[in-house]
C-alpha cells in the first residue's frame, strides 16, 4: 500500500505512514460499540438482517422470498418452508474532527503531525474495511473538509488531504463540530483529535456530539513541553493563538503549581468524558503513532 503510495506521483512527498505500519493496519478494523445502520453493504455487521454471510436465524417462507435462502435441510425434516436469515454487513461512517489550530504546531513531532498520522492510520483502517471516512479540519477559520470517502482506492485522497493541513487560526471546537454535524446525517463513529486548548472550552463541543448520538472517541494530544514545561526565569508567555500574554517568573515552585493546574485540568477532561460516555485517550507527541494504534487504540477498543 505504502509502496503504491510512494510510486504514485500524486502521493504526498512526506509519507504520513510507513509501509510496514500500513501492512499491520491491513489486519485491523474499526470497532463500533453501537450497532449502526449503514447505507451500503460493508464489512460490518448491521442491525439489519439480510444478505450477509453470517447466519443469524430462520423464519417461515413468505411470498416473494428469494428461493436461494430456503433451507432445504429444514424443509426435508419439517416439511415446511423456512428461509435462512443472515446478518447484514454494512459500512461504518467514520468521521474525524481534527484540530488544526496554531497550538497544534507545538511538540516534536508536532501535535498536528501526530494527529494527521493517527487520522491517516485510522482512516486507512476504515477505508480498507469499506467504511466511509470523512475529515473536518477544526479551526476558527473554517478549515477544509473532506467528504466521506469509501474504498481502499480513496486512501490517497485521504492522505493528500491530511498532508495539506497546516496549523493556523484559533481553536474553536464548537464551530468545527457544528460544521461537521451540518454535513453528516448518519450516526457513526466520530474521532476527535485535539489538544482541547480552546479558550471557549471543550465541553459544549463534545456535548454536541452526544446530542447527535454518535459514538465519540476523543484523542487528546499534548506536547511534552505542555506536560512538563522546560522553561525558567522571567518570561512573558505568549499564547500563539490569541496573542495574549502572561508574565511569570518560572521557578521550581511555579512549575509545581503548573503541574497541579495541569493535573486538575486533565482530570476534569477525563471525568467529563467518563460522565458523558465519550471514549478518551490522552497521548503525547513522544509516543510513536504505531504504538498508539497497535497498542493503545486496540486497548481502548477503537480498533480490533
Amino acid at each position: 500500500m505504502a509502496g503504491r503510495a510512494d510510486s504514485d506521483p500524486a502521493a504526498p512527498t512526506t509519507p504520513l505512514l510507513d509501509p510496514e505500519f500500513l501492512q499491520k493496519l491491513e489486519t485491523l478494523g474499526l470497532v463500533s460499540r453501537k450497532r449502526i445502520r449503514g447505507e451500503q453493504r460493508g464489512d460490518r455487521r448491521s442491525v439489519s438482517r439480510g444478505r450477509g454471510v453470517e447466519f443469524s436465524d430462520h423464519r417461515a417462507y413468505q411470498l416473494g422470498d428469494d428461493y436461494r435462502y430456503i433451507d432445504w435441510n429444514v424443509v426435508s425434516r419439517l416439511d415446511r418452508l423456512f428461509v435462512k436469515m443472515f446478518s447484514e454487513e454494512e459500512d461504518l461512517d467514520v468521521s474525524f474532527v481534527l484540530d488544526t489550530s496554531r497550538s497544534m504546531a507545538a511538540g516534536s513531532p508536532s501535535k498536528l503531525m501526530l494527529a494527521k498520522r493517527l487520522a491517516a492510520a485510522i482512516g486507512y483502517i476504515g477505508l480498507v474495511n469499506l467504511d466511509r471516512v470523512g475529515v473536518t479540519a477544526c479551526s476558527a477559520d473554517a478549515g477544509p473538509r473532506l467528504d466521506r470517502l469509501r474504498g481502499r482506492a480513496r486512501v490517497f485522497d485521504l492522505l493528500r488531504f491530511l498532508d495539506g493541513l497546516e496549523p493556523a487560526g484559533e481553536t474553536d471546537l464548537l464551530l468545527a463540530m457544528r460544521r461537521h454535524f451540518a454535513g453528516v446525517r448518519r450516526r457513526g463513529l466520530l474521532i476527535v483529535l485535539s489538544d482541547l486548548f480552546d479558550p471557549r472550552g471543550y465541553e459544549r463541543a463534545l456535548l454536541l456530539a452526544r446530542y447527535h448520538r454518535v459514538q465519540t472517541f476523543l484523542i487528546h494530544i499534548l506536547a511534552d513541553e505542555e506536560l512538563t514545561p522546560a522553561v525558567a526565569g522571567d518570561l512573558r508567555l505568549v499564547d500563539v493563538e490569541t496573542g495574549r500574554a502572561v508574565e511569570v517568573t518560572v521557578d521550581a515552585e511555579a512549575l509545581r503549581a503548573y503541574a497541579q493546574a495541569r493535573d486538575a485540568y486533565l482530570s476534569g477532561v477525563e471525568r467529563f468524558c467518563l460522565r458523558h460516555g465519550i471514549d478518551y485517550l490522552r497521548t503525547s507527541t513522544s509516543v510513536p503513532v504505531e504504538a498508539l494504534v497497535l497498542r493503545w487504540l486496540r486497548q481502548g477498543g477503537l480498533v480490533g
Partner: protein, 596 residues
C-alpha cells in the same frame, strides 16, 4: 566597627533605587506557548509574577545588593577597633584642665576619661606596665610605668581637675620622652580645647566633649584706690551662640550689683562698680551651661589690709604720722634692736639702725643695709635724681615721684632683687628670698622732700601691703611663698574646710599649688590671712573640643566605652568582597544569557 567616613553610608540609599530599577527594567523575554490556559489557572503561578516574588527569587539582584552594600561600606572606610592596651608599655596622660569638668559628657569629661583609663588598666596583660602622667598647670609624672594595677587605680582615683588650664602638650612631650619598649604607646585623654596637640609617634589622643556652651567669670577683683573701693567683674562667652546672662554680686547675702549682660559669641564684657563695704563678695551668673564651675567667683576687700607694724629706730614724725593714718592692724615703735620681739609683727621697719643679719620676715629698710641681703652700700651719693620707676609694680601703684628731691642717699650695689625706682643710683630696691621680703629705701626721710609729696603715704601703704598686707590674690595652680615671720608652721584651710599643715622652711611657708578657686585661710603665729585663689587663666573656660585628628575613636555600640588602642582597616576587604560579588554576578548573568 567604626567608620572614618560615615557620610558615605548614605550610599546605601542606592539599594532601593536598585530594586526600583530592577522592577522597572523590562527583562522578561517572550516565550511562545500553545496556550496560557494552564498558567492562568495556576494561582500560585500568578503569584509568582508578583514583583516581590521576583525580588525574592532573583539571585542576581541579591548579588547586586550585596555588592552595593560592600562597596558603600568600603567607601565609608570601616575599621575595627580592639579594646585594650596593645602589647607594650602604656603611658596614660590625663588632662586636668578646668574644661575637663564640663558636663557635656556624662558625668563629666574628666570622669569619663578616668573611667576609660581605669578600663585600660583593667585590661593590661600580665607583665604589661602602665604609667600615669597628669596634665595639670605643670605636667607631673604621677606613677612611673608599673605592673601594679592597684597603685595605678589608686592614683587615678585621687585625681581631680584644676581650676586652671592643663599643659597637655607638655604632659604628652614628657610622656614621649619616657623610654617606651617595643609596642609601647601613649594614650592621652583631653578635650583639646586650648590649642593644637603635638603629633608625636605612638601618641593617641582621646578627644572628649561635644559642646562649647560655656559662659564664665574670668576675673573678679575688689580693689581699693585713693578714691575708695570698687569691684571689677569680667564675663566671657566661650560658646558660638549669643547669650544674655544675668550677673549678680552679693555681699553677706545682700545684692550689691545686678546686671544683665549681652554676650555675642566669643565676646567678653567687663563691669566695674563701686563698693562701700569690706569683706567677701560673691559674683554669680544665672546661666545654664556645661561648665558651672566658672559661673561664680569670690573677691575680698580686707577691712584691715595692712599688717601690724613695728618701727625700730630713732623715730621719724613723718613715718609715725603716716602709720597713724593708714589702716594697719597695730603699730608700735622702739629704739631697741631685738629681733626676738619682731615675730609678733607683720612688718618691721628698720629706720637708720644697724640690725646685723636679719631673721626671716617682712622688712621696710630705711637707709639700712643688713649684711645678709644681696645688696651692699658703697658710700653715699649726693642729690641723686629719680629717673624712672616701675608704675606697674604694686608697690608703686598710684605713686607719682616726679619732683621728689633727695639730698643724700646710700649708693646701693644690688646683687639680686629688683630696682623699683632708678636714677643715678637705685633709690628703691625690693627683694624676696630666704624667708625675707624687704623693701629698701636708701635715703632717710628727712634727707628728702618725699614726705611732703602725696606719693609718700601711697608708697608706704603699697609697700606695707606688698610686704604683709591683707588678702592675697593668687591664681589656681600657682604656688605661694609667705614669710613665716618667725613662725614654725601654718595651717591652710581650703574653701571646702579641709586643712593642711604647712611647716616653715628657711623662714618661709611654701604653700602647695591651689587646685580649686576660692578663698583659703592661712593661720599662723602672726595671725590669719585670707588667700583668694582665682581661676588660673582666662582661657581655662574654653571648652570647645579640639579636632579629632589622630584621635582614638570610641567604639560604637559599646556606649562610647573608651579608647580602643588598636585599629585595623576593613575597607580593603569590603572592596575585595564587592569586586568578587560583582564578578560572580557578571559570570552568572553571562551564563544565563548563554543558556538562553
Amino acid at each position: 566597627v567604626t567608620f572614618a567616613v560615615p557620610a558615605a553610608l548614605w550610599g546605601l540609599l542606592a539599594i532601593p533605587c536598585l530594586i526600583l530599577l530592577y522592577l522597572l527594567r523590562v527583562r522578561r523575554r517572550d516565550h511562545p506557548v500553545s496556550t496560557i490556559l494552564l498558567w492562568q489557572r495556576s494561582a500560585p503561578t500568578l503569584a509568582a509574577s508578583r514583583p516581590s516574588r521576583r525580588i525574592e527569587r532573583s539571585v542576581l539582584l541579591l548579588l547586586q545588593i550585596l555588592a552595593t552594600v560592600a562597596l558603600v561600606t568600603a567607601l565609608a572606610r570601616p575599621s575595627i577597633v580592639e579594646r585594650g592596651a596593645g602589647g607594650g608599655d602604656v603611658l596614660l596622660v590625663l588632662d586636668l584642665s578646668l574644661s575637663m569638668r564640663a558636663r557635656d559628657v556624662a558625668p563629666t569629661r574628666f570622669d569619663r576619661a578616668r573611667d576609660e583609663a581605669m578600663e585600660i588598666v583593667a585590661h593590661l596583660r600580665p607583665g604589661q606596665r602602665a604609667g600615669l602622667i597628669t596634665a595639670g598647670p605643670r605636667p607631673l609624672v604621677r606613677v612611673t610605668p608599673t605592673e601594679d594595677r592597684d597603685r595605678l587605680v589608686a592614683a587615678l582615683r585621687e585625681l581631680q581637675p584644676w581650676d586652671a588650664s592643663g599643659d597637655v602638650a607638655g604632659a604628652v612631650r614628657l610622656a614621649a620622652a619616657h623610654p617606651l619598649g617595643p609596642g609601647g604607646r601613649i594614650v592621652a585623654w583631653t578635650d583639646g580645647a586650648r590649642g593644637p596637640l603635638p603629633a608625636l609617634p605612638r601618641v593617641a589622643y582621646r578627644i572628649l566633649g561635644s559642646s562649647d556652651d560655656n559662659v564664665g567669670i574670668t576675673a573678679f577683683r575688689a580693689l581699693r584706690d585713693p578714691r575708695g573701693a570698687e569691684a571689677l567683674v569680667r564675663v566671657e562667652n566661650f560658646g558660638t551662640r549669643s547669650r544674655r546672662v544675668p550677673l549678680e554680686v552679693t555681699h553677706d547675702g545682700a545684692t550689691t550689683y545686678r546686671a544683665v549682660l549681652d554676650l555675642p559669641p566669643g565676646a567678653s564684657r567687663t563691669v566695674v562698680f563701686p563698693i562701700t563695704a569690706a569683706g567677701r563678695f560673691t559674683a554669680r551668673l544665672a546661666v545654664h551651661d556645661i561648665l558651672p564651675d566658672d559661673d561664680s567667683a569670690t573677691a575680698i576687700l580686707d577691712p584691715a589690709p595692712l599688717p601690724s607694724v613695728l618701727v625700730v629706730g630713732p623715730g621719724d614724725p613723718y613715718l609715725e604720722n603716716v602709720l597713724r593714718a593708714l589702716p594697719v592692724v597695730r603699730a608700735a615703735a622702739t629704739r631697741a634692736v631685738d629681733p626676738t620681739t619682731w615675730r609678733s609683727y607683720g612688718v618691721v621697719i628698720l629706720d637708720r639702725v644697724d640690725p646685723g643679719p636679719i631673721p626671716p620676715g617682712d622688712y621696710l629698710l630705711i637707709r639700712t643695709v643688713p649684711p645678709n641681703l644681696p645688696v651692699a652700700a658703697a658710700g653715699d651719693v649726693r642729690t641723686p635724681d629719680i629717673a624712672s620707676w616701675d608704675r606697674t609694680d604694686p608697690v608703686l601703684q598710684f605713686v607719682d615721684l616726679r619732683g621728689v628731691r633727695i639730698l643724700r642717699a646710700l649708693q646701693l650695689v644690688p646683687e639680686g632683687g629688683r630696682v623699683l625706682v632708678g636714677g643715678t643710683v637705685p633709690l628703691l630696691w625690693a627683694y624676696e628670698g630666704e624667708g625675707v621680703r624687704a623693701l629698701l629705701l636708701p635715703f632717710a626721710l628727712q634727707d628728702s622732700d618725699l614726705p611732703m609729696h602725696v606719693a609718700f603715704p601711697l608708697l608706704v601703704a603699697n609697700g606695707l601691703g606688698w610686704l604683709g598686707g591683707g588678702a592675697l590674690d593668687v591664681r589656681a595652680g600657682e604656688t605661694l611663698q609667705i614669710p613665716a615671720g618667725g613662725g614654725t608652721r601654718a595651717r591652710v584651710i581650703d574653701p571646702e574646710g579641709h586643712s593642711q599643715l604647712v611647716p616653715a622652711t628657711a623662714g618661709m611657708f611654701l604653700l602647695p599649688p591651689f587646685q580649686r578657686a576660692g578663698v583659703y585661710r592661712l593661720t599662723s603665729a602672726s595671725g590669719e590671712r585670707q588667700i583668694v585663689a582665682r581661676i588660673g587663666d582666662p582661657r581655662a573656660g574654653m571648652v570647645r573640643p579640639g579636632p579629632a585628628d589622630r584621635a582614638v575613636p570610641s567604639a560604637p555600640g559599646t556606649g562610647d566605652a573608651g579608647p580602643l588602642v588598636t585599629r585595623a582597616s576593613l575597607w580593603p576587604w569590603f572592596l575585595l568582597a564587592a569586586l568578587g560579588i560583582i564578578m560572580g554576578e557578571w559570570v552568572l548573568a553571562t551564563r544565563r544569557e548563554g543558556d538562553r
